[in-house]
Symmetry: C2
Subunit: 320 residues, 2 copies
């Protein structure tokens, strides 16, 4: 790629919708310089997406720009952190202006909604691979961790399960169900930043569900030294997912499919009222889906049976 092309690419990422006064220096020097106020901790996360692995080659670039930032903001949300900055490392096979314009629009539209300033990154030639690193702030000692779940905690989930997994099956031609909303959930996940902020000082533990509820819930259970029971009847499923389950009987989908980017968190029963009060003003629905147990293991109550969901993602019937 000629130098001129790199300059062109950089031009697509200079029209910043957000400028923080705490950004001492943004794009254009050897580093960005950021000012962190006393009493705030910095939360840092990074996620990579690769063509053919995390998205299909014909993906809408605007959706891709949205999703790359969204999955990083989802990690900040799971810590209860307020998004502030991002860097973008963009490896591109060629300089396609229409593609870049569309990608940048998706990225910056979401960045503007959540107050994220792009402060740097790198542009290189190569197979389409994109890494975003997001930085956010959280008041000292108030971050939500995976490791704080306690026996008796109620387990909650935002939004709905399995829609993104269904969307992927539809795009891959593996399901004939018509469900544009499922494809939308796959391509334009909504980071639950507002809810993450409201959970500070309330939730004992929190994680964002990116690899499937069962796999990610284990990332709460193990460091917390506890187990859990989920109630199938309480799992929030979209209409399309219910139709898919009725047609295929593939009930594992909403538990194992990735890309939901919902928050799963646990709250002690005594704080249930406070939780409902705080989330009243948030548009996103949420559901109580189970309970933390003192003994290790993850169980699903379904149709009068107790199904063990094992750590490596494979499930077997414990009472067969």
């Amino acid at each position: 790629m000629a130098l001129g092309e790199f300059e062109l690419i950089r031009r697509f990422f200079t029209a910043q919708p957000v400028k923080h006064p705490s950004t001492v220096l943004g794009v254009g020097d050897d580093c960005a310089l950021l000012r962190i106020e006393q009493g705030e901790d910095l939360a840092a996360t990074a996620d990579t997406m690769v063509e053919g692995v995390h998205f299909l080659p014909d993906v809408d670039p605007e959706s891709l720009g949205h999703k790359l930032l969204a999955v990083n903001l989802s990690d900040l949300a799971a810590m209860g952190a307020e998004p502030k900055w991002a860097t973008l490392a963009l490896t591109l096979p060629r300089c396609d202006e229409v593609w870049l314009q569309s990608f940048a629009r998706g990225f910056f539209n979401l960045a503007e909604r959540y107050g994220v300033e792009l402060i740097g990154g790198d542009t290189t030639r190569g197979p389409l691979t994109i890494t975003v690193q997001a930085l956010g702030l959280v008041a000292r000692g108030r971050a939500l961790r995976r490791s704080g779940a306690l026996p008796g905690d109620l387990i909650y989930l935002t939004g709905e399960l399995g829609a993104a997994g269904l969307g992927l099956r539809i795009l891959q031609g593996r399901s004939a169900i018509e469900d544009p909303a499922a494809i939308q959930r796959l391509e334009r996940p909504e980071p639950r930043v507002d809810i993450g902020l409201k959970l500070r000082g309330l939730a004992n533990s929190c994680i964002d569900v990116s690899d499937g509820l069962a796999a990610d819930l284990w990332h709460i259970l193990e460091p917390s030294g506890v187990g859990a029971t989920l109630d199938w009847e309480q799992l929030p499923l979209a209409d399309g997912v219910r139709r898919y389950l009725a047609e295929t009987g593939d009930w594992r989908l909403p538990l194992s499919a990735g890309d939901d980017y919902e928050l799963c968190f646990t709250v002690p029963p005594a704080k249930q009222g406070e939780l409902e009060h705080r989330l009243r003003s948030v548009a996103c629905p949420y559901a109580r889906i189970g309970r933390i147990e003192p003994q290790a293991g993850l169980k699903l109550l379904k149709d009068g049976r107790s199904i063990e969901l094992s750590r490596n993602g494979y499930q077997h019937f414990s009472d067969d």
Copy 2:
């Protein structure tokens, strides 16, 4: 790549040689949590390397691990920032244990020498592409910028020019010169962190030379609104580079070849003594190579002629 393989890959990056007390939370949650003390600004930078573009497919993985971190630390050095943390986004075509062990050794050996803690990242399957983001600290208002050069400033350069460019030509079979030191400079650049720290409050401007001295010096001249004259006789050239120049007459190499990762900085003449005093204890050599001029443009004095080095990297003789 199976989940088990990802776990395996992560295992190579858990043996941290460095742990900062200011790391509230490292690898293992949705985000890392970092504490920044009052009075310090955070410096952030990111660099990507792609197989076949930035390194050859048969590169020694230990050297690659070293270089990826080194080029990011070089950006921190150019700001006068002290390295503290890094994230690593690793996209790999397969899980090769020997390769990973060697890569991790190169990365962590350098990390240990400069006090860098790996706090997170991502591991994905795909064409070999690696992005490192480095975070460092610099006292408020003390960061070195590109934009502060003033007419009369003396221009300095650390180390030597062109060795990495020669090393690349040797590896590509484009030069028959025998020079293992040049290949070493290409594969294991040394970030000039110690010098960057000593330049705080002394240098008016600073940049790290990654795209060739001429191209990078322009990144000081333009935002500073000044020009410069370089003196060919003062450019620090390694023996191998001198032999290459004698054989080929390709005098542009040390000015245009990338990957030097030396610091180029400007200092007012009144502070020359202080500079020499401060750099006395640093093992790395440095040279005065020119002077900042009030009028725009970059000139090279060579063999009694003034050669204009233009902004886009092409050179022409102004007095022809």
